[in-house]
């Protein structure tokens, strides 16, 4: 049998590249507002001094920051990356390319539709869009189109996989395609909550077709999606850590089986955990909050499998590079490669993000940090570092792969990654500490008539970290743009897909069967959410009007 050596066509590369262009454009705008928030905390308020009347308020900026970064940068990058993983992994073209193109266009139309009301200050409801704050209907429609567009791209993946499976009945699903599929399936289960909230409640309500809403019920719908959303961001980063980073570092994946097992557990356990975001909400019995708390703790298990397997793969690489002793292999990793560096530093800060996550998930300890600036401090270690810095690292090899051009100014890329790491360490640590001191989140602290003396130094560090991150972000954008106009490479870039230490064909068969895991995920969801949803829908009071609080 001859090996299948299918390579992506120029058209496929262009399609993936378009996802990345929109992703980078989004973060280059959304990322600009993060430092404005941070500097506002430090007392340097650009909103009232310089940005008004183009950008009207702190909350408009915060909405732009959250929506463009957490929803658009991630979703566009991820759908593009998953497209690559499916085609390259299965070594075949998408079965219905046009279907994925429809999904892509729907996402673009959704982005524009949502962006217009935000830019007109008609939707400053933050990326969580909690009712009874009421945005312009176009915002909700736009967000819905982005999500549905990503679903359609996912359906294109499923149909492609089915065709591949028919042609390859006995072969284990190639790891990168397998992981891409689980990520997409998890996303589609996770977004059912937001779909219910948007389609049944928010869109009819914003169009005047419904008189009122029950905010409590909508918060439950939202957090059905809101927490697994984090895993939609994280799983593609994990894919890179499992399936690319070992090869980039000079080694092999420690265990194909562990990698697959952890992804099945993420599918099973990522979704039924939303009430841990609602620990202080009325209307959800504490017993159910405790159930979700325990399920959240269970996610610790696949997370630790991931940490172990990725570090063991890196140890394998470091030793292959000549590393000796218990920890001597760490110094032998290719720290001067910006793509590797970005992922290593993302992983280091993610260790601390993970620890913060355990604290957030603890039912009682959560009360110390709930709704304080600790929380954005935490998720800037997860989505803004573990995820974003890893995505940047992926782009550092993928843009040359897609364009056939070399990475412009590799040294700038290395500096960019270090700046991100330093800026985020300063920013995030300060946000955590000032949160422990009681500083609220989602609040323009710079406008407070007075603040406790002990916050001041930390708020300065928040601003300083923000400035360093801003420099890093635009250095990243410069490297990306510069790479489009630089010299052609003499040889094509080969995607650095890692081999496993053992042949994947020896991976147990039960790790390549979908049915038990899908059934398990469904049962767990019914147990974790079913009784509460029946109760909350049955007792809902659809009486709350909309409020414009900005």
């Amino acid at each position: 049998m001859t090996a299948n050596t299918y390579q992506l066509t120029a058209k496929e590369k262009r399609f993936i590249g378009l996802h990345f262009i929109f992703a980078i454009a989004s973060i280059s705008i959304g990322g600009l507002f993060g430092p404005f928030q941070a500097m506002e905390h430090a007392g340097w308020d650009f909103y009232t001094k310089f940005l008004n009347p183009i950008f009207h308020s702190y909350y408009e900026g915060l909405t732009l920051h959250g929506v463009l970064n957490a929803l658009i940068w991630t979703t566009f990058f991820i759908t593009g990356f998953l497209t690559f993983l499916m085609i390259y992994g299965l070594k075949r073209p998408l079965r219905y390319f046009w279907l994925n193109q429809i999904g892509w266009w729907m996402m673009v139309v959704g982005l524009v539709t949502a962006a217009i009301p935000i830019l007109l200050n008609e939707a400053s409801v933050l990326y969580t869009f909690y009712p009874p704050m009421k945005a312009h209907w176009a915002f909700y429609v736009g967000v819905t189109l982005v999500v549905v567009g990503s679903w359609i791209e996912g359906w294109g993946f499923y149909l492609t996989y089915m065709k591949w499976r028919k042609e390859n009945p006995k072969t284990r699903t190639p790891l990168i395609a397998f992981m891409a599929l689980i990520t997409m399936v998890m996303w589609q289960i996770a977004t059912l909550g937001a779909a219910a909230e948007l389609l049944v409640d928010l869109i009819p309500w914003s169009l005047g077709l419904r008189a009122g809403l029950d905010p409590q019920l909508d918060r439950t719908y939202f957090w059905w999606t809101g927490h697994p959303l984090v895993y939609f961001w994280l799983l593609p980063a994990y894919i890179s850590w499992y399936a690319f980073l070992p090869r980039q570092a000079g080694g092999k994946l420690f265990s194909d089986s562990l990698a697959r097992f952890s992804f099945w557990l993420f599918l099973l356990l990522s979704v039924p955990v939303g009430f841990h975001h609602q620990y202080v909400d009325p209307g959800v019995p504490s017993g159910w909050k405790m159930v979700h708390s325990l399920l959240t703790y269970s996610v610790f298990f696949p997370s630790m499998i991931t940490a172990f397997t990725v570090v063991a793969s890196l140890e394998n690489a470091g030793r292959a590079n000549g590393g000796k002793g218990l920890l001597g292999w760490i110094a032998k990793l290719p720290w001067n490669d910006p793509s590797v560096l970005a992922q290593l530093l993302a992983g280091i800060l993610y260790f601390f993000g993970g620890i913060g996550g355990i604290i957030n998930a603890s039912y009682n300890v959560n009360l110390v940090i709930h709704n304080t600036s600790w929380v954005p401090g935490h998720f800037h270690l997860t989505v803004s570092t573990a995820v974003t810095l890893t995505f940047m690292g992926i782009l550092y090899w993928m843009v040359p792969y897609l364009t056939g051009k070399k990475l412009w100014c590799k040294k700038c890329a290395v500096i960019q990654v270090w700046l991100w790491f330093i800026g985020m360490t300063i920013f995030s640590n300060a946000m955590h500490v000032v949160g422990l001191l009681g500083a609220p989140r989602r609040t323009p602290l710079g406008q407070a008539p007075y603040i406790p003396e002990e916050w001041a130094g930390h708020l300065f560090r928040v601003g300083l970290g923000g400035i360093i991150l801003l420099i890093s972000l635009y250095l990243f954008v410069a490297v990306m743009v510069g790479s489009l106009f630089t010299k052609k490479l003499e040889e094509e870039v080969e995607p650095p897909v890692a081999e496993s230490l053992l042949d994947p064909q020896t991976t147990p068969r039960w790790l390549d069967h979908w049915a038990p895991w899908l059934i398990g995920a469904t049962i767990l969801l019914i147990i974790a959410y079913g009784p509460q949803l029946i109760y909350q829908i049955g007792t809902a009071q659809f009486t709350s009007p909309g409020f414009r609080v900005w």
């Binding site: 630790m304 940490a307 570090v311 140890e315 030793r319 620890i355 603890s362 110390v368 042949d503």
Partner: protein, 51 residues
């Protein structure tokens, strides 16, 4: 698809990931310290017990 079961890139002397075990142990220790410190902050703010 190759039937190869052993690594062939110079890694075939790969040992048990002892360094990884050390890293994970350090990680667990940091978890305990940081979680415990926030737990102590909670206790320092006063705790009401039912009953």
């Amino acid at each position: 698809m190759s039937n190869e079961k052993l690594p062939d890139n110079g890694n075939d002397n790969f040992e048990h990931p002892k360094g990884t075990a050390v890293v994970m142990a350090i990680f667990m220790l940091i978890i305990i310290i940081l979680w415990g410190s926030v737990y102590l902050i909670m206790l320092s703010r006063g705790v009401d017990f039912y009953g």
